[in-house]
Amino acid sequence: MTPALVILAVIVTAAAVVATSAREPRLAALGMVVTIVGAAYVTEPLPGIVALAARLAGSVLAGYLVWVALRGAPPPTVGWQVGWPGAAAVAIAAFAIGWLASGTIATAVAQASGSGPSVGAAAALEAGSPVPRAAFGAALALFALAAAPVLVGRDVLRLGLGLLILLAAAGLLRNVMSVGTDGPVELALAVLTALIGAAVAAVVGRSLAVHGDLDLRVTARGDGAVRGRAAEDGRLRPWPGMYGPYGPRRRALPPAPGAHRDLRRPDRPAPVRPEPPSTPGGAGGYGAGWPGTR
C-alpha cells in the first residue's frame, strides 16, 4: 500500500503542474480534479470509509461544478508564463525540499519525545514511513505551484484552481501531521471543498457570461469619492434598487442648470422616402414629376 500512496503523491503533484500550466481550461480543470481527489488519500493510516467517501464526494462535486462552468469551449487562457517545464521544475524542487525537510522534522520530533512510542502529532512521520514524507513533499509542491496564480493571477480560472490546490495542500499537511481522521471533521473539509468549488464555478460562469472570457478585469475605480463616483456613473449597474433610491441613476449628480448648455446642432432629419403622387395635376401631383426632382 505504501508505494502506491507515494506514487499517488507524485501523481497529485504532476496533476497540479498540469492545472497551473495548461492553457486549455478544461485540461487545467482536469488536473485540478485529480489533485484535490488524490490529495485526500495520501495519508497513513487511511481514514474510515465514511471519511474517505465524504472527501471523495466533496472533491468530485467541486471539480464537477468547475467542469460544468467551463462548458461551451471557453477560449484558451494565457496560462503560467513559465510553461509546463518551469512549473514542473518548481514542483520537483519543492517536492524534494519537502521530502528532505520531513526527515529532519521526524528526527527532531523523535528526539524531543525520547524513546517512547510514537503517538500524537506526526506519529507516522516519526515512525519513518515514506507516505508522510511524500505527502509533505506534495504539500510543499502544491503550495509553491498555487502561489503564483493565487497572488498574481490575472484570470478567474487560474485563481480559482490555485485556491482549490491551496486547500488540497492544507489537507496534505493535515495528513502529514496525522491530526486525526475524524468523520465530522472530514465531512466539514469536504463541504468546504465543495463550497469553494461552487464559488469558483460561480465566478468562472459569471465571467464567461458577462465578458465571454476568463480574464480578471480590474475595474478602474479610484480610492477617492469623486473618482469612484465618476467611474460608477459611466454605466448602469443592475443592482437591487437600481430604479430605487440606491441606484446609480439617483446617486449621480444632477446636471447644474446652465453650466453646460447643449450647443450641439440638432441632427438633420432623416430623408423621407418619397411616395408617388396619388392624384394628377397640381403641385406635387401626378404628371408633375417626382417630388424633389424639379
Partner: protein
C-alpha cells in the same frame, strides 16, 4: 436538538429565499416571507437554546450533535441571537429601501452566514471551526454575484481569494501547532541526544512564533488590517450598501473567534518567550489603528469612511493575539461582538443616509441631522456604543486588551490609539448640524409629529375593492364622483375572503412603504440601541465571552 433546529431553519431559509428571490414575482415574495420567518425563528431558537457549560478537555455523553463535535455554548447563543436580530432589522430596512430586489442576495447570505457562524462557534474541533469560518466568508459571493454586474466579478475574486487564503493559513497553523507543542514540551535540553533536545528546544519557539504570526495573519487578512486593507473600500464601492453590515461587520467574526481559540488553546499555554512576534503584531495593530483612523477622517466618501472605521476597530482584535495569554480570550471575544454590533449600526446608518440624500459625498451631506433627527440620534448612540463608557463591557475589553498586550506606557498609547476614530464620528455629527445643502433640502423630512395626510385618488380605488367602508373612511378629500365610482366597484367585486386577505397584506405593505422614511430611521435607531446594549454588556455578554472554549478534540489533547 435545538441546535439542529437552528441549523435546519437557517439552511432551509437560505435555500428557499435564494431560490425564490432569484426567480422573482410571486416566488420572490414567497421566498422573502420564508426567509424572514426563518430569520425570526432563528432569533427565537437562539434565545431558547440550552447551552450547557461544558468547559474544556472533556465532552460529556449525549451533549451536542455529531458525536459532540458541535456543542452550543452561551457565547454562541448570544452572538447568534444578536446576529439574527440585526439581520432581521437590516433585511427590513433593505426591503423598505429597495423592495424585493433589495433582498436578492442579502437575505440568503444573511441566513447562510448565520448557519456557518453557528457551526464555527459551536465546534469542538479547531479544524471544523476553521472550515465553518471559511465557509462563512464565502457568503460574500452570494451578494456580489446576485446580479449580472461586471464589477461584481473582480470583487468576488478578491473576496474568494482573501477567504480561502485566510482559511488555509488558519487550518495549516492548526495542524502544525501540535507538532510545535510537542517540540516545545519534549525538547528540554536534559533529554537531548546528539542533536538533541537542544536543537528542538531552539526550534520550538521559532515554530510557535511563526504559528502565532500565521494565525494573526489569517485574521488580519479577514478583517482587512493594513496592509490588506485595499479590499475593503473596493468592496464598499461594489457591494450594495445595505449588504455592508453583513460583509464588513459580521462575516469576519467567526474567523476571529476560531483564531483566538487556536492561540488560546494551542499556543498561549506553552508560555514561550515570543517578544519579537508580539512586537510585530502590535506594530501591525498600531499602524492599522492610526492609518485607518486617519484615512477615515480624510475620506469624503461615506462608504469608504465606514470601511476604514471598521478596519480601525478591527485592529483591536489583533491585540488579543499579541497578548499571547489565555486571559485575552474573554476581552477579545467581547470586543468582537461589540465591534460587529456597533459597525452594523454604523453601516446601516450610512446606507440609509446615502439612500435618503442620494449622495455618499460627506460635504454634500451638510445639515443632514436637521432633516433626520432620528438618524442623528442613531449615529450618536452608535458612537457611544463604539467606544463605550467606563464600566461598560466594550470599554473594559479595550483597556484590558491594551494592558494585557503591553506594560505602561505602551498600554496607554494603545488605548489612546483606539480612540483615534472619534474625530471621524464627530465630523459626521458636525457635518449634520450645518446649514443644509440643496441636496439635503430636497430629501424627505422625518415626520416626528404625524400630520393628517391627504389621500390620493389612486389609493382610494385600490382600497375600495376591500369594502365600501374603507372607501368611506379614507375618501374625505376625494371628489364625490370618484367616491361613488369606488363604491360601485366595491359592490361589484363582492369582497371575497381570499381577496380580502390578500389586500390586508397589501394594505400593510402600502402603509409601511408610505412611512418608509420614519421606519428606516427607527430601524437604524433600534440597531444603535442594540449596539449600545451589547457594548454595555447586557445579557452578560462579557461573562459568556470569558467562559472556556468548548473546543476539546484538537490534536494537542490527543
Amino acid at each position: 436538538m435545538e441546535l439542529i433546529l437552528l441549523l435546519g431553519l437557517g439552511a432551509f431559509g437560505a435555500l428557499a429565499s435564494g431560490a425564490g428571490l432569484a426567480r422573482g414575482r410571486r416566488w420572490g415574495q414567497a421566498g422573502a416571507i420564508v426567509g424572514a420567518l426563518a430569520l425570526l425563528g432563528m432569533v427565537a431558537v437562539a434565545f431558547a437554546l440550552d447551552a450547557p457549560r461544558v468547559g474544556s478537555r472533556e465532552i460529556p455523553e449525549g451533549v451536542g450533535i455529531l458525536d459532540g463535535r458541535l456543542i452550543p455554548n452561551d457565547y454562541m447563543r448570544l452572538v447568534i441571537a444578536l446576529w439574527a436580530l440585526d439581520a432581521a432589522i437590516v433585511t427590513f430596512v433593505a426591503w423598505l429601501a429597495g423592495g424585493l430586489a433589495g433582498l436578492r442576495g442579502l437575505l440568503p447570505a444573511m441566513l447562510a452566514s448565520i448557519v456557518g457562524a453557528s457551526v464555527a462557534f459551536a465546534a469542538t474541533d479547531l479544524t471544523l471551526g476553521a472550515s465553518a469560518a471559511g465557509a462563512t466568508g464565502l457568503v460574500a459571493l452570494i451578494v456580489l454575484l446576485a446580479w449580472r454586474d461586471p464589477a461584481g466579478i473582480p470583487a468576488s475574486a478578491r473576496e474568494l481569494r482573501s477567504t480561502v487564503i485566510s482559511t488555509v493559513i488558519l487550518i495549516a497553523a492548526i495542524v502544525v501547532a501540535p507538532l510545535a507543542a510537542r517540540l516545545a514540551l519534549g525538547g528540554t535540553p536534559e533529554e537531548g541526544g546528539l542533536v538533541g533536545g537542544g536543537a528542538s528546544s531552539e526550534a520550538a519557539p521559532a515554530l510557535v512564533g511563526l504559528l502565532v504570526l500565521a494565525v494573526a495573519l489569517a485574521v488580519a487578512i479577514r478583517i482587512g488590517a493594513i496592509p490588506f486593507h485595499l479590499r475593503v473600500p473596493q468592496l464598499a464601492d461594489v457591494a450594495p450598501p445595505m449588504t455592508l453590515p453583513l460583509l464588513l461587520a459580521w462575516v469576519p467574526v467567526p474567523m476571529g473567534v476560531v483564531g483566538l481559540a487556536t492561540v488560546d488553546l494551542l499556543l498561549a499555554p506553552l508560555a514561550l518567550p515570543l517578544a519579537n512576534e508580539q512586537l510585530i503584531i502590535v506594530a501591525v495593530a498600531i499602524v492599522t489603528l492610526a492609518g485607518a483612523s486617519l484615512a477615515a477622517s480624510l475620506q469624503d466618501d461615506l462608504r469608504h469612511t465606514t470601511g476604514y472605521l471598521v478596519i480601525a476597530d478591527g485592529a483591536l482584535v489583533l491585540l488579543g493575539f499579541a497578548a499571547l495569554t489565555p486571559d485575552a480570550w474573554g476581552p477579545a471575544r467581547t470586543w468582537l461582538v461589540a465591534l460587529a454590533a456597533s459597525k452594523t449600526a454604523l453601516a446601516t446608518w450610512a446606507a440609509v443616509v446615502e439612500g435618503r440624500f442620494l449622495t455618499r459625498d460627506i460635504p454634500e451631506l451638510r445639515g443632514w441631522i436637521r432633516r433626520s433627527p432620528m438618524l442623528g440620534a442613531a449615529l450618536l448612540l452608535t458612537t457611544v456604543a463604539t467606544f463605550g463608557l467606563p464600566g461598560w463591557a466594550a470599554f473594559e475589553a479595550r483597556t484590558t486588551l491594551a494592558e494585557l498586550t503591553a506594560g505602561p506606557p505602551l498600554d496607554l498609547i494603545l488605548v489612546v490609539l483606539g480612540f483615534l476614530t472619534l474625530p471621524t464620528y464627530l465630523r459626521l455629527l458636525a457635518v449634520g448640524t450645518g446649514s443644509p445643502t440643496s441636496r439635503v433640502e430636497r430629501a424627505p423630512r422625518e415626520r416626528i409629529v404625524r400630520r393628517r395626510r391627504e389621500t390620493l385618488p389612486v389609493e382610494v380605488e385600490g382600497t375600495a375593492s376591500d369594502g365600501a367602508e374603507h372607501a368611506d373612511s379614507s375618501a374625505a378629500a376625494v371628489r364625490p364622483g370618484r367616491l361613488a365610482r369606488a363604491r360601485r366597484f366595491a359592490r361589484r367585486s363582492g369582497g371575497t375572503a381570499s381577496k380580502g386577505s390578500v389586500s390586508v397584506g397589501r394594505r400593510i405593505t402600502r402603509a409601511l412603504r408610505r412611512d418608509a422614511t420614519e421606519l428606516t430611521a427607527a430601524a437604524v435607531l433600534t440597531l444603535a440601541v442594540l449596539a449600545a446594549l451589547t457594548s454595555w454588556g447586557a445579557l452578560d455578554i462579557g461573562g459568556a465571552a470569558s467562559e472556556p472554549a468548548p473546543i476539546t478534540t484538537n490534536a494537542g489533547s490527543d
